[in-house]
C-alpha cells in the first residue's frame, strides 16, 4: 500500500494548509505603486468634483429683509437672525446708540456659532478660542483663517434691514 502523504519534514498541518501569513501580507513594489496611482486618481476626481460643483453652484442672492426693529435691542445687546436663507444664522450687535453691525454666526474655522462677548467687546468662538473684532469682523486671535462675512445693514425708518453680504477675502488680522 502506497503512503498517501509524500515524505516531508514539515508537519502534516503545514503541508495541508500551505498558506504563509508573511507571504500573504507581502506587498510588492508594483502593487504599492498601483495603490499610489489609484490614490492620485482619487485626488484628481476630488478636484474634478469641486470644479463641477463650482460650475453648478448658483450665486447667492441677497434680498433685502427686515431683521429687527431699531429700538428692539439695547446697546450691547444682540439678536440672532437668519439671512440670506433660513439655513444661514447671523448675529446682529448693537454697539452704540446708533451703531449696529451684523455678521454671519459661522466661525470661519470650523463653523461653530460665534457669540458676542460684551466683556471683551468682540465676537468669540467657543470651540477653539477664536475671536473676531466686532468693529469689522477681522480675526483677533485663534485659528480662524478669514474674517467673518459681514451682513450689510440699512436703516429704513425704525426698521433694520439686511441688504447683502460682504465676504472678506483676506485673512486679515485685527
Amino acid at each position: 500500500m502506497t503512503p498517501l502523504r509524500r515524505p516531508s519534514a514539515e508537519p502534516l498541518w503545514r503541508d495541508e494548509f500551505s498558506v504563509f501569513s508573511e507571504d500573504e501580507g507581502y506587498v510588492s513594489r508594483r502593487q504599492f505603486a498601483k495603490f499610489l496611482v489609484l490614490a492620485s486618481l482619487g485626488m484628481f476626481v476630488g478636484n474634478l468634483w469641486i470644479l463641477v460643483r463650482s460650475w453648478f453652484t448658483r450665486q447667492a442672492a441677497y434680498p433685502a429683509a427686515t431683521i429687527a426693529r431699531a429700538d428692539e435691542i439695547p446697546v450691547g445687546g444682540v439678536k440672532v437672525f437668519l439671512y440670506p436663507t433660513p439655513k444661514d444664522q447671523c448675529i446682529l450687535v448693537r454697539t452704540g446708540a446708533e451703531e449696529y453691525v451684523a455678521y454671519s454666526q459661522k466661525c470661519t474655522h470650523l463653523s461653530c456659532a460665534v457669540f458676542y462677548s460684551a466683556q471683551h467687546g468682540r465676537l468669540e468662538c467657543p470651540c477653539h478660542n477664536g475671536a473676531f473684532s466686532v468693529r469689522d469682523g477681522s480675526v483677533l486671535q485663534g485659528p480662524p483663517p478669514r474674517a467673518l462675512p459681514r451682513v450689510l445693514l440699512e436703516r429704513r425708518g425704525g426698521q433694520l434691514m439686511a441688504v447683502g453680504m460682504q465676504v472678506q477675502a483676506e485673512a486679515q488680522r485685527g
Binding site: 499610489l36 496611482v37 486618481l41 485626488m43 469641486i50 470644479l51 463650482s54
Partner: protein
C-alpha cells in the same frame, strides 16, 4: 551568469524606488492641492477650481507615466 545580472537588477530596483518616491511626492502635492482648493471653494471662491483641476490632472498623468515606467523596468529586468 546570474552574478552578471545582479548589478543590472540592482540598477533597475534603484530606478523603481526613485520612480516610486517621485509618485509619493506628486501625490503629496495633489493632496495639498485638493485640500487648498476645497478650503477656498468652501470660503466662496470658485476661481481656483479650474486651474487646480488641470494641475491635478497633469500630476495624475505624471503618476501614470511613472507607473508605466516602473512596469517597463520591471518587465525588462525580469526578462533579463
Amino acid at each position: 551568469m546570474a552574478e552578471a545580472r545582479e548589478p543590472e537588477q540592482k540598477k533597475g530596483l534603484t530606478a523603481i524606488d526613485a520612480a516610486m518616491a517621485l509618485i509619493v511626492v506628486l501625490l503629496l502635492v495633489q493632496i495639498w492641492l485638493l485640500t487648498t482648493t476645497l478650503e477656498t471653494f468652501l470660503a466662496g471662491y470658485k476661481e481656483t477650481a479650474l486651474p487646480a483641476a488641470i494641475v491635478s490632472g497633469l500630476l495624475f498623468g505624471a503618476c501614470i507615466g511613472l507607473y508605466l515606467f516602473i512596469e517597463r523596468i520591471d518587465l525588462e529586468r525580469r526578462q533579463g
